[in-house]
Each structure stands twice: as structure tokens, then as C-alpha cells.
Symmetry: C2
Subunit: 318 residues, 2 copies
């Protein structure tokens, strides 16, 4: 059993590196720090290396003292674990740490995982890698505490969109029950992770809502975000994340489009569909890609003409 071999590897190692994927998210970081806290209890010497700074949202995570932004010249470790990382490219320049370690472990839940390590634990039915780390900590016989529970709660709740995505399973909820039992503070964490928004992002959302255009009897909604809008509220590129869902969630909307101006005549376009429209087919037309219900592409031209063109593409499949 692969779990047994992973446990042996951990037991035999002294110095351990943990690597979540680049542009780390709640699952990658929460799982990594939870495992660090647990392995610390076994007397291990642990470092979690990340590619960029900790995102502001996750600065409250206990155990962030284990986290180090990787620069260069990797230390020698007995063991390295890559978490929530589908392939080696997702390690960024921390591939150096991976290459510099003899024994490597890959714990992940992506269907696209390339099984790139010496030992690979890939469970695609897991909603979050946090679930796999929960089970690993149990198998290691380490007791849970509030800090570990908090980190795993963040991992699982973020990767399931707050228990709302279709990846959420009975196991997700069973594990979460145990995390709350071990001290995870539901309302405090939820407020920090899901509710809090910067004033800049909120003001950008206000402008985005003002920009909404509705077509085809309410079945198509466009949001337009220009550079001028970003400048007006002092928002950054990342503040556009999720804005397309504002349009998708309007009652009756089947296709939602976010047009994000990049330069004077270049636009990044995000598509979402609610039920039956395959938006990846539209994105493909413009050398973009994605899934049936979430896709994107980049288009050049004059704003009004681009909108009209996309609208026509949508109308054909609506």
C-alpha cells in the first residue's frame, strides 16, 4: 500500500521539505502547513517552501513560521513532498529543491497528475488535498489540535467553494465534522476566507455591476472591465478574479461573459455557462480553451465590435 510506504519514508527522514504549487491557494498552503505542524510533533525538521509571498487572505494560518519564500541554492533534505501539484512545472523554480532530493513524494487530487515522484498518492475523488493530509496525519498516529484543524479546514473549505462545489462528498463533511471537533473556529475562518473583501475590490465590483448588459431576454449577461475602471478605484488585475460569476449568478442567465481590457485593442474574455451551452467551443474559435461551463480567450479589435462578434457566437448556440 502506497500510504504505508509514504509513512515509512516520513518516519525515516529527519529534514523534510514541503512544496505546494505556484500561485498557492487555500488547499495547497493549508495542507502544507497542516502537515508541517503535524510532522513537527514527530520531531522532524520542516520547511514549507513557496514560490511567492503568502496571499494576504491566508496570513492568519497557524504555522506560517514554517513557510519560506524560496530564493535559490536549495538546502539538502532527506525527503521532499509536493502537495496539490499536478506536474513538475507547477513547482516553479522550486524544482531545484525537488531535483536536489533523493526521495520524493507527490500527494495530489488532480486528474491530470503526471505521477512525477518516487512515491505518488493521487486520489482524484478527494475534494481537496486537505482530505488526504487529514488521513495521512491519522495514519501517522499524530493527534490533531486547533492549529492543524484550522489549516485543514481552510484547505477543504476553499477547494470546495465553502462546501458548494460538486466535488464535495460525504467524506468531505465527515472530515470537517472532526476538524470542528478538534477546534476549528467555523465562523472566524469563514469570515476571513470567504466574506472579507478589500474596499478596492468591492468598488471594482460596483463598477462591474454598473457595466452589466443583458441580451437575449436575460439569457446572456456581459460585464466589461476597462483599465480606466481599475485605475479609478485603485484595483489590481487580481481583483478581476471571480467577477464573471457575478454575471453568471443572475437569475435566468445561461451565458455570462467578462470582457477585460488589457491594452487599447486587446481583451481577455472569460465565459461561464449555467446549464447547456458549451462555452469552450466559442473560446476555441479564438484560440482559447477551457471546459464546457468555464472557458476563456484573448481577442483583438474595437470594444463594440468584439462584443457584437461574441454576442453573435453565443446567439448561435443559445
Amino acid at each position: 500500500m502506497i500510504e504505508k510506504r509514504i509513512i515509512d519514508a516520513i518516519n525515516n527522514a529527519k529534514s523534510i521539505a514541503i512544496l505546494p504549487h505556484v500561485s498557492v491557494d487555500g488547499d495547497g498552503l493549508g495542507s502544507s502547513v497542516a502537515l508541517a505542524l503535524a510532522l513537527e510533533k514527530m520531531g522532524k525538521d520542516i520547511t514549507v517552501y513557496i514560490e511567492e509571498e503568502i496571499p494576504a487572505t491566508y496570513e492568519f494560518l497557524p504555522g506560517k513560521d514554517y513557510v519560506e519564500v524560496y530564493k535559490s541554492n536549495p538546502k539538502k533534505h532527506d525527503l521532499v513532498l509536493a502537495l496539490d501539484t499536478g506536474d513538475l512545472a507547477r513547482l516553479g523554480k522550486r524544482i531545484e529543491i525537488f531535483d536536489n532530493t533523493d526521495l520524493t513524494i507527490n500527494i495530489d487530487h488532480h486528474t491530470t497528475n503526471t505521477e512525477f515522484a518516487s512515491l505518488n498518492l493521487v486520489k482524484t475523488t478527494a475534494a481537496a488535498v486537505g482530505e488526504l493530509i487529514y488521513q495521512l496525519i491519522k495514519m501517522l498516529g499524530i493527534s490533531f489540535d486547533e492549529s492543524i484543524a484550522t489549516c485543514l479546514y481552510v484547505a477543504i473549505s476553499t477547494d470546495t467553494g465553502g462546501f458548494r462545489y460538486s466535488n464535495t462528498t460525504p467524506i468531505t463533511h465527515q472530515i470537517t465534522a472532526d476538524l470542528i471537533d478538534n477546534g476549528a473556529d467555523v465562523s472566524k475562518i469563514s469570515q476571513l476566507v470567504f466574506e472579507t473583501m478589500s474596499l478596492k475590490k468591492l468598488r471594482l465590483m460596483g463598477l462591474a455591476i454598473d457595466s452589466i448588459e443583458i441580451f437575449d431576454d436575460g439569457r446572456v449577461a456581459f460585464i466589461t472591465v476597462t483599465n480606466e475602471m481599475l485605475k479609478k478605484v485603485g484595483a489590481a488585475e487580481e481583483d478581476c478574479d471571480g467577477l464573471v460569476n457575478v454575471a453568471r449568478n443572475i437569475n435566468g442567465v445561461e451565458v455570462a461573459v467578462l470582457i477585460r481590457q488589457r491594452t487599447d485593442n486587446e481583451y481577455k474574455i472569460n465565459f461561464r455557462s449555467q446549464n447547456y451551452v458549451d462555452v469552450s467551443a466559442i473560446a476555441n474559435k479564438y484560440s482559447g480553451g477551457g471546459h464546457k461551463k468555464a472557458a476563456g480567450c484573448t481577442v483583438r479589435g474595437i470594444m463594440e465590435e468584439v462584443k457584437e462578434m461574441i454576442n453573435k457566437d453565443i446567439r448561435e448556440v443559445l
Copy 2:
């Protein structure tokens, strides 16, 4: 044990009425319809009486064929169950049904419950009455199915704000695990209940965001909603629900205020605090009330003067 007496009462009854509270919400309606679906399997004759029409959000609930908007002249029932109802006033005019029935049961989780029925099952640790109905259905030995699981999932997820409020317990998640196992469709229900918003409400939110005023280094945020704004987007009074949270969720905000114009010189004011400010003390000053972190009052005057007055009150306790 009270549960045993409730089960006996149900077993002995043929015609059963179920009454959730007025202005029915996800827990009241979901619990009622879930119980109706379960008791139907026992061959009972069931009606769920509600005070107003089913809210649009919950029209997808299976088993809504059992639901009837009560008019007058109650039928005679062998047994009536009031669910999620703290006191008799919360039954509205359906008190007539209650008064017309010899055997009455009260199943609730409000700390303020007045134990108004023949048999009272009040568990204030339950996050939702949906949890109590889940346990009751188990004790009745009725098998769960997708419809019952869906209704109870709606009940529990709405009363916990999508598993985000502090009332969420390990038991909440254990029950939810079982509901998903029995067929509750997480992403479909979550989309319908939590994500979807009417265009009118969204446009009102856009105007509300535009109206945000920030004071005291970002620790106080005001949102103002005028009658003109409602008219502009065709929104209704109920579309103002939750708008105060938009201000409360801004990073760094301790006190959020929603000023809702009712007439030319009358304003309904909602307060929320994030951590330490007791907003009920401010609301009390104007003959309002509420809790430490959520309170409200009504104030008359000129808009700008009202704002300044409230702002001064807040500054004193900030």
C-alpha cells in the same frame, strides 16, 4: 423521553398538519416539506400550511405539492406540528389550525421558545430544525431518499449560512454527509439557494456599493439606500436584505451601517459590528434593539444630519 412520545403521537394520527413560522425561510420550509415527504411514506394524510406564498428561491423544493397557503376555516386534524416556531405569534393566522387541534407538537431550536404545545422538543444546540427532523425521521424508521435529503440539505445549509455561522457543529456536518450520501445534489442546490440573484437585486447592490462612505481610517462604512435608488432599478424592500453585510465584510471595517430611507425624513438603520463594538447600545439610544453585533432602529430627520449623528455615536465607542 419526549422523542418517544412524539413518535407515538405521529403513529396514532392519520391527518397531520405541519406549520413553519411566518415569513418562512429555508429551514422552516425545508424541514416541513422533508417531514411531509417522510410521513407520506407512513401513509399519513399531510398538509403543510404556510402564511404567505413560497419564496421564489425555494420553489424547486421537492414535495411542495403538500404546501398550501392558509386562508381560513381550518380543517380538523388529528395532530399539528409547529416547526422552527419560537412562539404562537409566529404562526400568524394559522394559530386557528393550532387552536382547532387537540394534540400539538412544537419542534424548535430557538433559545426564546415558549414551549407552547402539548409536546415540546426544543434543542437549542441544533444549528437548524432540519437536524431535529433528520433525527426524528431516523427514529421513525423511515428511509431517506433524494427528495427528503434535498429538503433537509436546504434547511441545514440555509440556517448555517452555508456552514459558515458559529452554530455549525460536528453534528451538522455528520448529518450533511448522510444527506449527500442519500442523493442531495450539492452544487445544484447551492447554486439555486446561495448564488443566484435577481438582476434587480444585483443592480441595487451596485448602487449600494457606489454609495459606500468610509470613515475613521476605514473602520466605519456607511451604505445609503434611497427610495429613488429602489425605483431606478425596480427593486423591492426585500432586496435590501443583507446589504448591510456588504459594508461589514470590507477588510478593516469594525462598524457597518445601512441607512434605508423609508419616507422623506424617516430612515431605518441597520448596524453590524465585526469584533468589539456593541451596536445594540447605539440602536437602543433611538428606541431600537438587537444584539451586540447586529442591531437596528428607526430615526427621523435630515439625511446628512442623521448620518453625522450616528457617526458621532459610533466614534464614541470605536
